[in-house]
Symmetry: C2
Subunit: 139 residues, 2 copies
DNA sequence: GTAGGCGCTGGAGCCCACTCCAACACAACA
DNA sequence: TGTTGTGTTGGAGTGGGCTCCAGCGCCTAC
């Protein structure tokens, strides 16, 4: 069993955010100790981790809530949960493709600046002054 | 030359956002026609595309503004611009690694649900009713 | 010349996802 | 028996990034 502080550390969420997630239904109600404080089981921590993964990959809070609602409705929603996760997987694949394209763009631009500095030219292809070249190399 | 409508279409930004980017200095002031309307040159459109790429890969507005400020200060800032882009490239690489890990998590979970449905078990490993299995398969 | 369409500006408003806070409660320790 | 530490709640506040709007101006077509 883990206190909220431990879980915050393990998941990268703040304690405030963990409480907020629970209030907002992004995580099912967590078990409490006799003093009313949250005591997360390993399974509950694992679940929070999954939610963090979904949020980090861009799933909106509302959709996470839907997922959690399905989880709380029990085994009969396995199919729907799978569908929801499959859609998220597709969105992740799209993001990866987009990220690869954007990486190429940025690297291309970096290469371009590298060449200009190397050749001592400005963006219009005119030679730059020694002073300017000096400043360029300083980064 | 392109009107703001064309550029919105080409870049995926709304016209409102294009105007806002300009007001906020995320794009240098765009050339205007004699009627005061924006007329984007091919180079200006290309620049907007680069900004979209930076924003999409998570660069905050404030940092984009810094980059644009460097661009407007001319050739002597080539080195600094390159540094800024290189940092962004590193962040993109981090994002890709994170995305790969999250993809694995989601796919693992999908596989898990697949197995449970296949085997007709609930999350605790107990067999589910025929009715429940039926609901599961419907997604 | 006037109606419609498109674009302009500055400012207000909005949405999302937290983040902070005051007021309180228990538990352990000096 | 305070006091310190850690947690609780509900509600208000914040920050980022747009998005919408009123009121205006310029063309073009009728």
């Amino acid at each position: 069993m883990f206190g909220i502080r431990d879980v915050a550390e393990q998941t990268g969420l703040s304690m405030e955010t963990l409480r907020w997630y629970e209030r907002e239904g992004l995580v099912p109600p967590v078990h409490r100790g006799s003093d009313g404080r949250r005591r997360y089981s390993a399974a509950e921590v694992g679940f929070v981790r999954l939610i963090v993964c979904l949020r980090r990959t861009g799933m909106p809070v509302a959709r996470v809530r839907e997922f959690v609602t399905l989880v709380r409705r029990g085994a009969s929603t396995h199919g729907k949960r799978m569908t929801l996760l499959t859609e998220q997987r597709d969105r992740i694949l799209d993001q990866m493709a987009q990220l690869r394209a954007d990486l190429a763009t940025v690297e291309h631009k970096i290469g371009h600046y590298g060449e200009l500095i190397e050749a001592g030219l400005d963006c219009e292809g005119a030679p730059v002054s020694v002073r300017t070249a000096e400043l360029q190399r300083r980064g």
